[in-house]
Symmetry: C2
């Protein structure tokens, strides 16, 4: 994932850092102004604008695909890895999926204006907490051009302005997608500055976004660990993100053996590269079918690295180093430990978890309840595969990312997570005694 940052550095040089700061501040001010207009648009108006954006993207397919071809050619010339080129590539089907995703966001309920709760104060004041947009959201992402449209749609639907900064290798694709999106929403009265694409690829512009406290309300980094790490270290603005998905699955002594096999296999092997994939399997010393669970994983082509008790289950299991317990493999590799009961499992998780998703498999409701209460991650699951950690699977309709911070939104973040609230106070002339 370092390629992105290297590309950025190589690409810079035209603007000075002071120029970049000026560009970012001027974009942010225009975005904030546009956001005030957007905040007052109705549910139906915003949905309409998104449908127009999807139609504009479908209509501009030839231009967008031509721009993408330019990016792909430049990428090949610059020696981009095949996996990176695949992420960058658009075709008719992928472009259609991008437009359909925007239409899906248009069909979701608008969280803005929702009442969170209502109470009456001792003075007779009536208090309502109501959802409002966060404001201007900065999105910093890597080579996938679909993020341009996804993030723009989610921000607009929730009444937020967005300042998008995509990867240099997708610059032409992003510009073409952004132009079509803007044309579509502007035809329905959304100010063009509501969704802006950073005009410069200079790396200093990213630094200026991260430091723009008071002008940018939140940053969402979308990409690999090195990008997220840089953003979290440098930002003076709140960041919504997760760094690692070191997800644990604990097979309790009272787990159903068939369910344990099925869920362990699915949690690791369905897709190994997503953040909800299991990275450590904790087998209870009193679970009778541990050998079958590890055999199922090994037979499916997964490399296992275990502690000494895990290795005694199957000779194909390699040795886990200290580092393995803190590693997000994102590959067909798994660390395995045998633990003595629920407390030991919770202790292991407390020491090594990244706060993303932990699962327990058990038929014992009391053990499940303790696990769900005590495992201190954004998502905790009982008898389910950790691969379900996803906004779409949670019924949110979409997601801007998964958050492991302890303030504000956590877990899959979609429209509601892109809003905050204010207190509305209804009085009848109360002066405070």
């Amino acid at each position: 994932m370092d390629t992105e940052l290297k590309t950025r550095t190589a690409d810079s040089g035209q603007e000075t850092p002071a120029d970049c700061e000026q560009i970012v501040h001027s974009l942010a001010r225009a975005g904030r102004k546009a956001q005030r207009v957007l905040a007052l648009m109705s549910d139906a108006e915003k949905a309409d604008a998104l449908r127009a954006a999807a139609a504009a993207i479908r209509k501009a397919a030839p231009e967008i695909l031509a721009a993408n071809t330019k990016d792909l050619e430049a990428g090949k010339a610059n020696g981009l890895a095949p996996a990176m080129l695949d992420r960058l590539m658009l075709d008719e089907d992928r472009l259609d999926a991008i437009a359909a995703a925007i239409e899906n966001v248009a069909s979701l309920p608008d969280p803005v204006g929702q009442e969170i709760d209502r109470s009456t104060a001792p003075s007779g004041l009536e208090l309502v907490r109501r959802r409002i947009p966060i404001g201007l959201i900065g999105i910093i992402y890597e080579s996938r051009p679909n993020v341009t449209a996804d993030a723009a749609a989610l921000c607009l639907r929730s009444g937020n302005a967005a300042l998008l900064r995509g990867g240099s290798e997708a610059v032409n694709s992003n510009r073409a997608l952004h132009a079509a999106f803007t044309e579509g929403v502007a035809s329905k009265g959304v100010p063009a500055e509501a969704i802006q694409l950073m005009p410069t690829q200079d790396r200093a512009a990213v630094g200026a976004m991260l430091k723009a406290a008071g002008l940018v309300d939140m940053i969402v980094p979308r990409g690999g660990k090195s990008l997220v790490e840089r953003v979290q270290n440098d930002a003076r603005v709140p960041v919504l993100a997760h760094l690692d998905g070191i997800c644990h699955t604990y097979i309790h002594s009272a787990a159903d053996p068939e369910m344990a096999k099925k869920l362990a296999l699915n949690a690791k092997m369905r897709r190994t590269g997503i953040c909800g994939a299991m990275e450590t399997l904790l087998l209870d010393a009193n679970f009778p079918a541990s050998q079958e669970v590890v055999a199922e994983l090994l037979d499916a082509g997964c490399e296992l690295r275990g502690d000494s008790r895990a290795r005694s289950l199957d000779s194909r299991i390699g040795v886990a180093s200290d580092e393995d317990w803190d590693t997000e493999y994102l590959d067909a590799v798994l660390s395995v430990a045998v633990v003595d009961g629920l407390d030991a499992a919770l202790e292991h998780i407390a020491s090594h978890s990244s706060g993303h998703t932990e699962a327990i498999v058990t038929a014992d409701e009391a053990a499940a309840a303790r696990f769900l209460a005590e495992a201190d991650s954004a998502i905790v699951m009982h008898n389910a595969s950790s691969q379900f950690a996803d906004g779409g699977e949670f019924g949110l309709g979409a997601e801007i990312g998964i958050a492991t911070g302890r303030l504000h939104a956590r877990g899959p973040v979609a429209l509601e997570g892109l809003t905050t609230y204010k207190w509305q106070v209804h009085g009848t002339g109360q002066a405070r005694p």
Copy 2:
């Protein structure tokens, strides 16, 4: 308010910054460990522990008052201003109020474990979002020793550990209060490290707290603007605070004249030094009783600084400079502007508000609805005095502060605002397709 920071600088010098960092990290690790125990304590256990803390403080009154006398003598020797000495001073009554405030927090409902919402995902997974503590909260405050007990009680009640860093001039009072508090809660099984008081007054320890991302989950600064500003500028940890309370009251053309007079007077003059006090009065050009409203304020001893149209209302009104519209006086001084209708009022507020509290006085429900929707502050009020912006007045029972950030808690923050949530997922063996 600069006195606090100056005192800190003068007081430092024993520890090196590296020592301070080590002290803070070691306290934070101990606090996090204690928090895991606290997070599992029941509502009744935490309430019991707080009642024991209140009893211990009442019992230790002679020691606490003796410690406070030492602080007062040192403060006088160091030339502390009378207002600072008054904030620092404890007597039997104030100590009793501190103990009673702890008992009040004990009587409030425990937000930890509360279900926020529940849904069923397409896969059949049952999803529950449930409140959990934030973790370890750092509190940085100035000369009022009651904050030691207040903040400790709110954090403990919401399952959070606290690391307290009080002002140097209250060091003996804080130590005595903290010792009694800890003795009380420890007698009921709360780990002594759940609520820790920073053992050094070195200023570098504050810097180390602000930088301890991953060890401290949130910082709450309690004190004047210079303290809050420093914390917001230097923190690498989320900060819950407000910098200014530039609160506006807009008297709409359809306001009841009697209500307008009563609310304007109360919003400004009830107590001029609190953050919810009105700092700018916006009079609609079509409101017929503006002269009476300003006369009421002038007669009550308030200095008025107005734009040219406001000055034509009463010869006693001085000239407002550009700076006045962005000033939090915290005194019997008020800026006054005459505006042409609701849009102009909202425009003025958008340009000059600090995001704290805005109020409209009007009998026109449609105008009120627009104001409550469009004024973009943490608290917006209709027909009420902005002095009601307070956790106690909102029925929250207490408050740790008022927040104007756009993420997480906003407005008066009490127990619920000291919690976040996790997703609890209940499955029946679902593997993700």
